[in-house]
C-alpha cells in the first residue's frame, strides 16, 4: 500500500483539475492506497459546503464529501482561505483549515505527490 499526496491548486467550475484529483483519489482508495489532499490557492474553494449550481448534478463538494466518507482528511491552506474570504465553517465535514507546515508533513509521508 502506498500513500498518494495531491496538491490541488485549481478552483471548481472553471477547470477540471478538481475532478481529476477526485478520480485519482477514488481509484487509489479502491486499490487500497491512502490519499492525502492539500487544497492550495483557489483549490480551497472545492470543498466549500455552500456551493450551488443547477447545471451540475453533483457539486465538487459532494465528490470531496465521498472521499471524506472513505477516510480522506483534506487540509486547506489557511492563508488561502482567509484571502478568499472563507472561514472554517464554510467547509464540508472532515476538511480542516491548516497551513503549509501541514503540507510539508504530507510531503514527508507520501510516496508520490501529484500537483493539479
Amino acid at each position: 500500500m502506498a500513500q498518494i499526496g495531491i496538491l490541488l491548486t485549481m478552483g471548481p467550475f472553471q477547470f477540471e483539475n478538481w475532478e481529476t484529483a477526485v478520480n485519482i483519489a477514488e481509484a487509489a482508495l479502491d486499490k487500497g492506497h491512502q490519499v492525502r489532499i492539500f487544497h492550495y490557492l483557489d483549490g480551497i474553494l472545492n470543498p466549500n459546503k455552500n456551493q450551488t449550481f443547477p447545471d451540475l448534478d453533483e457539486m465538487p463538494k459532494d465528490r470531496f464529501a465521498k472521499l471524506v466518507a472513505k477516510g480522506v482528511r483534506p487540509i486547506a491552506c489557511g492563508v488561502c482561505v482567509k484571502a478568499r474570504g472563507q472561514k472554517g465553517e464554510d467547509y464540508i465535514e472532515g476538511v480542516t483549515v491548516g497551513g503549509l507546515p501541514d503540507f510539508a508533513e504530507i510531503i514527508g509521508e507520501v510516496d508520490k505527490l501529484i500537483t493539479l
Partner: protein, 116 residues
Amino acid sequence: MGQKHVLITFNHAPYGTIYYTEGLRAAVGVTSGIDEHTVDVVYLGDGVYFTLKGVDRKDTNKYLGTLSAAGYKLQAVEESLTARGISKADLASDIEVISRSRLLELIGKADATMDF
C-alpha cells in the same frame, strides 16, 4: 515522515497568474516543517521571464530572502532563455543558468515535484 527533496518548477510567466509568488510561498512552506525538506527552484518555459533584471519583486522578496538565507539559488533553464531571446546579461544577479539536461537530473533526484 522523513526529509524529502522537492523540485519546484515555475512554468507560468510572472504576470497573468499568482503562481510566481504563491509557488515561492509553497517553496518556503515545504522547507519549514519538522522534516526540514530541501528544495530546488527552477524557472523554465515562460517562467523564465521572472528571472529578468528589473522584474518587480515586491510580492516575492520575503520568500526569496528566506530561500537565499537558506542557501538556495534560483535556477533558469538555458534552452528556455534562448528560445525567448534572453541572454545571460539580461538576468538578475542571483540567477544561475542550468541546462535542460541538468533539469532532468534534478527531476531524477527529486522525491517530489510541484509546478507553478
